[in-house]
């Protein structure tokens, strides 16, 4: 190395990788070589993780033969560049090493030397130390920042044909490790990096491996209280695959240096105060707050790493990054289920319901930020047949003769067990398309409650001499529900969330055209409609005074 002087050139003061060097003015005809920057620590298996080797050849116009090699234990393992460069004293030349050695495989974690040799009127030979490490994430666990603001989510099928409840693993919703018999958690068996796990987007079944649940690579959605901060406890990978195909340590900590991880998504940075990660260690990140509405938001998180000298100093980037895709569902309050019910189906909101709710809200133009908004979305989405949602859920039809059904029989709700086989409902209406009021009330009450609406009950009504109604899945208002002149209920089931003061009903609409006893009708959605009063449910739906009683939130199967 030939140092001509130490007069700094401000434009070339490079500090991005801890090897900032002053570039010196060269004499008019003598070759100079200055390393501008080489990362001290790098992981070429990261996305964009090629290692930039930056240097300056001087003086202007000189022609130099340049060789850049990577050495380990004094032996050359890779040739990065070999060719002729023309000197330009104010220009940094960058040559990237892809991290692979002469055999085409990624270099194993360990200590290396970057060597640059330039030859013109004389030989310049400079080196820089480089530690190859393997950085990556093997697991992520969603945590509540406070109690009761994060829940597991539930699937109800196992593959396409078997009913089975599965809750997303609270120990880690994102998991990306080697299967038994594989070499390492961070890499594939061929040494290439293990890719991030794609978000699991099926809403009915978790991923399977053969006939069993996939238990090594998955990426499940999370569920949080709306407006809360999502928190991820990240576990870093513990080993890598060597060129020899064996498991090796990931090469860090590097003596004298600290490494930390930083995360961000398009909504902002994720807060993390750890200064020194370790293999198999954990670090916790708090992300930008989730929306203050119930629904879904996707987060594409970019994970980067930085290093610095131990104990302080400026952080320098490890080239490259990792991208992971995450899905967050938000609910209004803690999910609520039938009192005393046990089973995995009660671990948290069902993915399919949270997703269906999101689609309904979008289609209806709703931004449900409170309990009324959730009820409005569920009732109107379930009923469909409006501007936003064209069809009822599962293409249900009210069970009446004009639709090919019979006399309003229950097809899903089990009164004796006070349970609703929601899994059969959502699996392409396995008990058929016909439903009655108890089916609707039990389905909607469970959906609404699991999205956080409190105090939901089924509200059972006695006999009703009906005015004009519009049944779910039927084409129009009728005053002849069961046939000419027959328009009454032996009972009716709706829902309430305030002890019957207001009621909701996804089974039918009342008529709000001012003449509720005659057709045609103007849709009167029953979303938290007062029970009593001139525009109340009882007045608009029945000629008689209707008796009432309550049924608790049903269990779910």
């Amino acid at each position: 190395m030939k140092w001509i002087g130490f007069a700094p050139i401000p434009a070339l003061m490079i500090g991005i990788a801890g090897l900032a060097l002053s570039l010196a003015a060269a004499s008019a005809s003598t070759l100079t070589l200055t390393i501008a920057s080489v990362p001290r620590i790098a992981d070429p298996k990261l996305d964009g993780g090629a290692i930039p080797i930056q240097f300056v050849i001087g003086p202007d116009g000189i022609s130099a033969a340049v060789d850049i090699t990577i050495e380990q234990n004094a032996a050359t393992v890779a040739s990065v560049f070999s060719g002729t460069l023309t000197g330009a004293a104010n220009t940094i030349v960058t040559k990237n090493w892809n991290g692979k050695t002469a055999n085409g495989k990624f270099a194993d974690p360990g200590d290396y030397t970057v060597r640059i040799v330039a030859t013109a009127d004389h030989v310049e030979n400079q080196t820089a130390p480089l530690s190859i490490v393997r950085l990556g994430i093997s697991a992520m666990e969603a945590l509540g920042v406070n109690n009761n603001d994060e829940w597991q989510m539930v699937y109800f099928m196992k593959g396409g044909t078997t009913y089975a409840f599965y809750a997303t693993p609270s120990v880690h919703e994102y998991y990306n490790v080697n299967k038994p018999g594989d070499v390492a958690d961070l890499d594939l068996n061929n040494g290439n990096p293990r890719p991030s796990v794609a978000l699991h987007e099926d809403v009915m079944s978790p991923p399977l491996s053969g006939t069993n649940y996939e238990s090594y690579n998955y990426n499940f959605p999370y569920c949080y209280l709306d407006g809360k901060t999502p928190r991820l406890r990240v576990t870093f990978g513990s080993n890598a695959t060597s060129q020899a195909g064996t498991a090796v340590a990931p090469g860090y900590p590097v003596a004298g240096y600290e490494i930390h991880a930083i995360a961000s998504d398009p909504n902002g940075g994720w807060i993390n105060n750890d200064t020194n990660i370790t293999p198999a260690g954990q670090s916790t990140f708090d992300g930008p707050a989730l929306p203050t509405v119930a629904g879904r938001s996707d987060r594409n998180i970019t994970w980067k790493f930085e290093y610095r000298t131990a104990g302080g100093g400026a952080w320098n980037p490890v080239p490259g990054q990792i991208g992971t895709h995450h899905r967050y569902y938000t609910v209004i309050n803690k999910p609520i289920f039938a009192t005393g019910a046990t089973g995995t189906q009660y671990a948290g909101p069902w993915v399919m319901i949270a997703e269906t709710f999101t689609q309904w809200a979008n289609d209806l133009g709703n931004a449900p930020s409170d309990e009324h908004g959730v009820v409005d979305t569920i009732i109107k989405g379930y009923f469909g047949q409006n501007a936003g949602v064209h069809f009822p859920i599962e293409n249900f039809e009210y069970d009446c003769p004009s639709m090919g059904g019979d006399g309003g029989a229950t097809h899903y709700y089990d009164f004796g067990g006070n349970s609703i086989p929601l899994s059969r409902v959502l699996n392409y209406h396995q008990n058929g398309i016909y439903i009655n009021c108890s089916d609707c009330a039990s389905i909607t009450s469970t959906m609404i409650a699991m999205l956080g609406v409190r105090s939901v009950q089924m509200f059972r009504l006695g006999g009703m001499t009906l005015k004009a109604i519009w049944g779910v899945g039927t084409p129009a208002y009728t005053t002849n529900l069961w046939g000419p002149g027959s328009n009454s209920f032996s009972y009716h089931h709706i829902i309430t969330r305030n002890g019957g003061v207001n009621v909701s009903d996804a089974c039918m609409c009342v008529d709000e055209d001012g003449n509720p006893g005659a057709t045609p009708g103007v849709p009167g959605w029953n979303v938290d409609r007062p029970w009593l009063g001139a525009s109340g449910y009882m007045t608009l739906s029945a000629y008689n005074t209707v008796s009432t009683s309550f049924d608790p939130l049903p269990k779910i199967q």
Partner: protein, 302 residues
Amino acid sequence: MIINNKMRIQIFVLLAIALAPAAFAAQSASKPAASRPRDPQVAHAHDRYRSGDWRRGERKAGFDVGSLKIHNFDGSAVEVIGDNALARRFTATGAAKPLYLIESNVYEAVADAHEKLAEILAFVSSPGTLPTMRASGHDVGDIGYIGYSGAAPGRIAWLAFVRGNITVRVTNLQTSESPAIDAAAVAKLADNAILAAPTLLDTQSLPKPAIDNFTFDKNSVVAGKIVKINFSVSGVTGEPNIDWITGGTGMGYVERAATASGAPGNFELHATGAGAFELTARVTSPLGVSAEAKATIAIAAR
């Protein structure tokens, strides 16, 4: 968690005896309908349908809905839909969607079966009463009722009947189609299958499966790990259905271990969340009779 995946026990002796047994208790799975306080709406149905006049037939050992065969129809796997409750769907050969759904509930007492039928009738919204099967010309069960479809004259949308201590409901899932065999004929086949089952003496209880052994192989497990379940059943002819129902604050699921030969391996609990974990095994015989047992384990945080 309920795993209605028809996990089969074929070689019970393969299941090992517990080395470190956790809590184990066998209990009845049956929850007789007649033992609950009668709901006024259901009581009204009893009155409207004069349930006191319903014939009380002999108690039967169960209904093997899995053995039911319908000519030119393909039967699905049997689903356990509750304690002592099974369901099965039948699809016309070559058709895309099932046409009939058969649901059965088996009870200790005839009165419980009658109560179930009354509940079905009570929760029909139309104000009239449904015709009996016999009035409609169908000699099925001790008592039964029909819901006719509006799709075509005489087409049955659903029916429900009781034979002894067993309640059966048959639902036509495609009432817009003209079926090659109607729901009453399907019900007759089901009724015949029930009649073919052994009759129970007054002193005999339903033939419940016996859960001889149900323990975890350890008293505790760390979240994220797997623990073997020692499990064996007897007293069942044929292949029982096993459901695993989770409880407590811990989380996990049960699967059979994969084996190199492809044969079913041991049952295993995959612990996925820390806390006290209670697992209920519900075993349902092909006759639709369930038994339950519980075992507990502590799932520790990592």
